[in-house]
């Protein structure tokens, strides 16, 4: 589903991502761990065709994202670290607009259903974004991703700033999505959430994927130990 082959990105000679080889199949949740600047966001940006790879390829459903930017974006949903939406529109209006951009037209009831799935109550859906908390905005972002009905999901530190309850709800939702066959690539600093939600974790350092493990083979303390060992080098 999501595949990177020798994917490299340099900015003016500085390596942001170095020969990444990665394959994430349907139903898998791959969590990318690493310090700031390790290359996690660059990987996601390359899959979204936000930046051009220096070398290598990123493909979604077998299509190169640089050659088929529109087609590949139909198959992938994205939730950034900070979901920022149109302040003067309500939650449901934002959802309706982004769904329309994705090529979907839903009746109000269906839109409310997506927001409900994301954990946002109906009263909040009718209020303008200007009064939303970060957690509420994040939920609308999740609803947008669900409504897109994409086969792949790219998440850039989606639980950053969320309270534990909201983070837990988000993990549960992610599990449901992966159970339905969605391939997920999530960049995160949250080792606990990565262990809880991910099927695999990868550790990035200086643009390289230095380790990858099945989460079922790891305990919480194992993951923390492995992570810190890599960070120490």
């Amino acid at each position: 589903m999501l595949k990177a082959k020798g994917l490299t990105k340099r900015y003016n000679g500085t390596v942001a991502l170095d020969s990444l080889d990665l394959e994430i199949g349907p139903g898998e949740v791959f969590c990318l761990l690493g310090a700031n600047g390790a290359g996690k966001t660059t990987t996601i940006n390359l899959f979204l065709n936000f930046v051009e790879p220096t070398s290598g390829t990123a493909t979604i459903n077998g299509l190169d994202v640089t050659q088929h930017p529109i087609e590949t974006k139909k198959s992938v949903a994205y939730i950034p670290e900070q979901v920022m939406l149109y302040r003067n529109l309500t939650g449901i209006e934002n959802l309706e607009y982004f769904s329309a951009l994705a090529g979907h037209t839903y009746p109000s009831l269906a839109l409310l259903g997506f927001l409900d799935q994301a954990g946002l109550d109906q009263d909040a859906a009718a209020r303008r974004m200007a009064v939303y908390s970060k957690g509420m905005r994040q939920k609308v972002g999740i609803a947008i991703a669900i409504a897109k009905k994409a086969g792949a999901l790219l998440l850039d530190e989606p639980t950053s700033g969320l309270d534990p309850k909201a983070s837990n709800e988000f993990s549960e939702l992610l599990k449901k999505l992966s159970a339905s066959g969605v391939a997920v690539l999530m960049a995160t600093h949250d080792l606990f959430r990565a262990k809880e939600t991910g099927t695999r974790v990868g550790i990035m350092k200086h643009g390289q994927l230095v380790a990858a493990h099945e989460t079922k083979d790891l305990g919480h303390q194992d993951l923390e130990r492995i992570y810190l060992e890599h960070m120490r080098d």
Binding site: A38, T42, F50, E93
Partner: protein
Amino acid sequence: MFGRILKHEWVVLRRETTPWVLTALLAALVGYALFSAARWVAFQESAIDAVFEEESGRLERLRTELQEIEAGSRQPSRNADPGNPEAAGSRLAIRSAVHPPSPLAVLAVGQSDLYPYYLKVSTGSRETILAATEIENPDRLLTGRFDLAFVIVYLYPLFVIALGYNLISGERENGTFSLVASQPVPLRRVVAAKVALRLLLSLGLILALSLTGMALAGVEIATPDSAVRLLLWFAVVSAYGLFWFALAALVDLRSRSSAASAVVLSGAWLLLTVVVPSSVQLAVSAYYPVPSRVEMIQATRRASAAAATASSQLLARYYEDHPELVSDIGEADLEDFTMLAFARREDIERQVRPMVDEYESQLGRQQTLVDRLRFLSPAIVTQAALEDLVGRGHRSHRRFLAAVDGFHRQWRGFFAERTFRKERLTADAYSGIPRFAFAAEPLVESAGAVAPGLGMLIGLAALMGIFGLRGAGRRPFEQGGGEEVG
């Protein structure tokens, strides 16, 4: 999809305060501009009515007086005999040549407050005729009148900049851009829809306000000519708006922030609407300096003094130039003051002619250079086009002056012939005194004059649009784009 983005943009704009404030401001400016221009047009029309009323009353009185003289019931006045062709042509029966405001004159005052819109034509010299103008408040002449063309050329771009400086940079700064860019829709389509909505709204506003203002001012679009001119007028305004929106989109798409975009666009506005037009004016004056008017007046006075001392030779020379006017007159007639007056005027004009020719040819060269250099600034092109379409520009004024020249020659010929043939004017002859009729520039010629500028505006907008939208098609975060790269 395009329509859906338009609808979204409309809802977003509608719920913001700034567009409403800008709209109210633009409405007030357009309203005041039309009101101000309508007052000026009404003043001109009332002045022209008064001129015609005075003229017809005066000519009617002269005709009556002449009938009484012919009937023997009245003695002709020595100095104001309406039957004397020289007196009639130089003072008593003079007519006005009028440059009337066109049906669409409320759309642009142009230079009509600087240029004379009626001239009293007599057998006097051309310079005397052109120098006779109404007394006007010099402050008002300096500042010019506030009209719709001014609002469109100078202030509408600021409205466009305020609406368009953050088309995409605003989305970047608000954080909505990454979600939009992750959707399967070309970014250029989003930008095009944003520009289209703002362009349609601003043009719709100007169109609606202008038509309302024209209706309130009592303007009637009674002829196909006026209707086509109005359509062309709006085509020029649309092309000008398109130019500024294309520039705003191009700059915004290449700016790192909306603040940078605003600064660049404000600079472009200053450059294109103020600096370039002023520089063109300065360059034209420096390149083709016009001879001093004071020198011309002094030359005229010197020629007058010289002519006075050579009266008899002048009349002989006049006859050499106009043999058709030679009648079987005797030597005594050489002393005839009226004939001498004609000869003297013509001699003065002959002497001053080289300087006048130089003055006019320099003005002509200046205008030719301005016509070429206008393409340096869309503001100059647009102003000239808007004024030309409603008959308020240099072209229309030059056409009026050319018509006045022709009428002046006709007028002088009419009275000179009768003076030299010693024919008295009769009451019936008064109805044959030449009348001035001004024919406005034909629509085809106006459209031909406007077409290059219109083409330039559309061409530039298209180029910037292609260039800008091609840029929008590039990867949105390639240069950092305000997003963290981790």
